[in-house]
């Protein structure tokens, strides 16, 4: 039986890679990454304003007016990417009638696999849990943005236009927005640097850099290793029932809709 990877891409791409992200997802990730970096390099010196390096850094960019403008630019870019993603989600499900990207929704199996993974790290299990299209870290990153971007956007908007905001909202929103903006930024930055960068770039097999989010393609062997359930389905290999993990994330649409489910997620 010809699988998606074999029929769609036969002869067009090197055979040893498998498509994982479509062009919109690649653009969204680049937009998010660029805006995130811009926001961090212009925002962190405000948090650590009394460090000499912050002052030198701001001076290097030509003063706080310049870094403020860069921060505003990064902010609108990130908000734009957010709306782009929502539009993309709506368009691909409502207009293109692709199945809703149900595999991104957290389920009980994510918690089970989290503990299985930790068990593997400490030597209680011989193998990593068998992941579907998204592992729990990828889901966490994705949903963290659904919480983080609105928090940062709303609080940042209040801080950007405090006079306008207090025309409709009580005065306490301004200091509250500052607290939320600052702490949520530290949370996002630390998580991205510590967990996201580590697991996506510094783990064995992908070090020093995982380029799949930029090329959209993953080497076949790595796909088989990191997302075995998804890989088997793409290759038409009958599903191996995992005795411990609850595979409720795999829905019955798989047979006829494998080519869409591969595209409809971020």
């Amino acid at each position: 039986m010809a699988t998606r990877a074999e029929t769609v891409y036969a002869g067009l791409v090197p055979e040893d890679t498998i498509a994982r992200f479509d062009v919109h997802q690649i653009i969204q990730h680049i937009g998010l990454m660029v805006s995130f970096v811009l926001l961090v390099i212009t925002g962190i010196p405000l948090k650590f304003h009394d460090w000499a390096i912050s002052q030198a850094w701001i001076g290097m960019w030509g003063g706080i007016e310049v870094t403020r403008s860069i921060h505003y630019f990064g902010a609108w870019l990130m908000v734009g990417v957010g709306f782009y993603h929502l539009y993309y989600l709506w368009y691909s499900t409502a207009i293109l009638k692709k199945p809703f990207p149900i595999k991104m929704i957290p389920s009980l199996s994510d918690f089970i696999k989290l503990f299985q993974e930790l068990g593997y790290y400490v030597g209680l299990r011989k193998e990593m849990p068998r992941y579907d299209r998204f592992n729990w870290k990828e889901k966490f990153d994705y949903w963290a943005l659904f919480w983080g971007v609105p928090v940062m956007a709303v609080s940042g908007f209040i801080l950007m236009f405090p006079v306008f905001a207090t025309r409709f909202l009580p005065g306490w929103v301004v200091p509250t927005a500052l607290v939320a903006h600052s702490d949520e930024a530290m949370l996002a930055l630390t998580w991205i640097v510590m967990v996201h960068i580590f697991f996506n770039h510094f783990t064995p097999g992908v070090f020093p850099m995982n380029t799949s989010i930029f090329t959209g393609r993953v080497p076949r062997e790595r796909y088989r290793r990191d997302h075995p359930l998804e890989y088997d389905r793409l290759m038409g290999i009958p599903e191996v029932v995992d005795d411990e993990a609850d595979n409720e994330g795999i829905d019955e649409k798989n047979d006829e809709g494998a080519d869409e489910t591969g595209q409809g997620n971020n």
Binding site: Q55, R167, L187
Partner: protein, 302 residues
């Protein structure tokens, strides 16, 4: 080749001469040659109480001071004949009056300010002219307001005020318990000031004097103070934040940290985010450390 060498040497000489000639020093106007004696650091006298006091005037400081073209006798008029009269020197209490003989408008404002009122009562703690206008507190080294090293330059004002207002024990005498300097530096205004450059364009950033007043500074408890009450505060905010209203002013933490009594929502939001931050990041750190352990162990075995 010879020409090139000559040009090179000539260039060095020219550059060197420009450098040397440009470093010509500025000298204070000293028509009565007061500095001949008073420029000597050793010059002292024994005053009426038997205490040895210095009569030295630092000519370096005078040469760069804003009053360098004003004769010594403008402020020390009784010393016009030599050997001159030995007079009681200017004191903190009499200084403002002396400065005010020229700077009348500022003197009038200062006399009505909280500092001036206290000074009139003989309180020596309070700020008078030189405490803010001279980096050393010495009347001879008063620097013009818009010079970058002046204590009254916009970027330096907070530090100047902090000289007294960041002294908790001194401020406790006047019931000022708020850590005004620290809270200002933590605020957006303070951060913008701290991270800003020394350029003159930085003048639009708010510091102590923008809200509290300059020579006419008033106690925050004085109903006429620009920061007393939400109405006055909102008007003060509006000087920079066009259209700011009462609600905008209400968002000001008042030089205090958010607490259950002071903008409780901000306080509880902070606690909430601290909890979130600690729990999520500890979880992430644990996972990463465990993963590093496993990957390193695998690597070690192979």
């Amino acid at each position: 080749m010879k020409w090139l060498l000559l040009c090179l040497i000539g260039g060095f000489v020219a550059a060197g001469s420009i450098f040397v000639l440009n470093s010509a020093r500025v000298y204070a106007l000293d028509e009565n040659n007061c500095l001949v004696c008073h420029g000597n650091p050793e010059m002292t006298k024994i005053n009426g109480d038997g205490k040895k006091i210095s009569l030295y005037v630092n000519s370096e400081a005078v040469n760069t001071a804003s009053h360098r073209f004003i004769n010594c006798t403008t402020c020390h008029p009784s010393y016009t004949v030599i050997p001159h009269r030995v007079d009681t020197p200017l004191t903190k209490l009499s200084l403002a009056e002396k400065c005010g003989s020229c700077h009348q408008y500022e003197y009038k404002l200062h006399r009505e300010s909280i500092h001036g009122q206290q000074l009139a009562n003989g309180n020596l703690d309070v700020a008078t002219c030189v405490d803010c206008h001279s980096p050393t507190g010495n009347p001879h080294s008063v620097i013009r307001v818009l010079e970058y090293n002046a204590p009254t330059y916009k970027k330096n004002i907070a530090q100047t005020c902090a000289g007294c207002h960041n002294d908790a024990s001194l401020m406790a005498n006047y019931g000022i318990v708020e850590k005004v300097y620290e809270s200002y530096m933590r605020s957006f205004h303070g951060k913008a000031m701290k991270l800003g450059t020394y350029e003159i364009t930085q003048l639009d950033k708010a510091t102590c004097t923008n809200c509290h007043g300059v020579h006419d500074i008033k106690s925050a408890n004085d109903p006429n103070s620009p920061v007393a009450g939400l109405d006055n505060l909102a008007k003060t905010c509006e000087q920079c934040h066009a259209g700011a209203g009462i609600e905008f002013a209400r968002g000001f933490l008042g030089h205090r940290e958010a607490s259950p009594d002071n903008i409780p929502v901000a306080h509880y939001t902070e606690i909430l985010f601290r909890l979130l931050l600690t729990s999520v990041l500890s979880f992430g750190a644990v996972v990463v450390i465990m993963a590093i352990y496993r990957f390193s162990a695998d690597r070690w075995r192979v």
